[in-house]
Amino acid sequence: MEVYMAAAIMLGLGALGAAIGMGLLGGKLIEATARQPELGAELQGKMFLLAGLIDAVPIIGVGIAMYLIFVVAPPLV
């Protein structure tokens, strides 16, 4: 039971952090593209790179949480 709670907290807080970070990043991209449309493609490329970096720790959390839910928990419950 505690294993499921731990996995739920990992998934939830990670998703919260990732969502807020991505939202800020995307907002800045749209603002910058509106100011200088000719940099649109270059900024979009940089945005995808940063999106992958922001996602890193939450996705590591998702991987560990899935491992907890499907491999660690069933023998215990």
Binding site: G52, L53, A56, V57, I59, I60, V62, G63, M66, P74
Partner: protein, 359 residues
């Protein structure tokens, strides 16, 4: 399908755990009890063998090899080397066509990226970046092969467990990150010499009394780089593979159902899925898509035929499973490429930082 201790995995969690189990070759200690269909067997001495379940893997300890990860990763590396070498030998300076054009495009892309981020002179960096990008991309691409296809075909040959995506094995990703870490150490010491120690101990507080604080903070930052590099790739691929496996459960969920919910699979074969029925379905769907690519079949008809094939083979559950797999696979293509790209860019940036002499 043989699960733990030779039984068919009847529960969903056994199915999932079966798909998450690597093919491990290691040493079982003497006195270990092996369970198989033939009965129990107590080992009289240390034996080197393939593991037959998760408990045997745990008994093998640290010095056990994941044979499937090694085979797939080394095999894909050899494929990359052979294909790119063939393209390099056949390339004509005037008019590259087709695949050779594509290879040149990739090489130019990596070259430009390296030129942007790396400002010293080192002949290793661009080939290293190309290898990292294409090799990780090929390893991640294995994730798009249907979940049960290769494992079931290999089980017919007798290989019980294996995973075809090497980057879902944390050993593989952390191994590559360790390689990058060793290169970082080597170039830091080679280019900066004693300046490297000065950098670690005197940034950000430039006073000899703060050396322990500086050292601690700089070491944490320095070690976090390869650690996060390896785990980022692992986490993305593991989560993606897990979702593929969860969606693949839909196909077997119609087992034992009516012809509407389970289709031909349920009617003819009862419990569980039959590999040949789904192999035939898969090949037919591939053939239909190929006809569409060649222009002989309109897109609307392609969708109609593929969906009705899925409906016939697996019923409503097979159809919805197929659509969900398609949706997730399309999203996962972005992740696959992006993660390989990020690994490459970060490697180049870290090695660039190792070559920087700021005074």
């Amino acid at each position: 399908m043989k699960g733990l201790a030779g039984k068919d995995p009847a529960t969903t969690s056994e199915y999932i755990q079966h798909h998450l189990q690597n093919l491990v070759y290691g040493r079982l200690p003497a006195g270990f009890e092996r369970h198989s269909e033939q009965g129990h067997q107590v080992l009289t001495e240390n034996t080197w063998t393939l593991a037959h379940g998760a408990d045997e893997v745990a008994a093998m300890g640290f010095w056990a090899v994941h044979v499937d990860s090694m085979a797939w990763s080394i095999g894909l590396g050899i494929v990359f080397c052979l294909v790119f070498r063939w393209a390099a030998l056949k390339s004509n300076p005037s008019t590259p066509k087709g695949f050779i054009n594509f290879v040149e495009f990739i090489v130019e892309l990596v070259d430009n990226k390296v030129k942007e981020s790396f400002h010293a002179k080192n002949r290793l960096i661009a080939p290293l970046a190309l290898t990292i990008f294409i090799w990780i991309f090929l390893m991640n691409l294995m994730d798009l092969v249907p979940v049960d296809l290769v494992p079931k075909l290999l089980m017919l040959v007798g290989v019980e467990y294996q995973k075809i995506v090497p980057s879902t094995d944390p050993n593989v990703t952390m191994g590559m990150a360790l390689g990058v870490f060793l290169l970082m150490l080597f170039y830091n010491i080679k280019i900066k010499g004693f300046g490297f120690v000065k950098e670690l101990t005197m940034h950000p507080f430039n006073h000899w009394a703060f050396i322990p604080v500086n050292l601690f903070m700089e070491l944490v930052g320095f070690l976090a780089k390869p650690f996060s590099l390896g785990l980022r790739l692992f986490g993305n691929m593991y989560a993606g593979e897990m979702i593929f496996i969860l969606i693949a459960l839909m196909f077997a969920a119609g087992a034992g159902g009516s012809i509407i919910s389970g289709g031909l699979n349920a009617q003819l074969f009862g419990e569980g899925t039959n590999v040949f029925l789904w192999l035939v379905t898969f090949l037919l769907v591939c053939f239909i898509c190929l006809l569409n690519l060649k222009g002989k079949l309109s897109t609307g008809k392609t969708a109609l035929y593929s969906l009705s094939l899925l409906m016939i083979s697996g019923g409503i559950l097979g159809l919805s499973g197929g659509i969900m797999q398609l949706g997730w696979a399309i999203f996962h293509i972005i992740i696959v490429t992006l993660q390989a790209f990020i690994f490459m860019v970060l490697t180049v940036v870290y090695l660039g930082m190792a070559h920087e002499q700021d005074h």
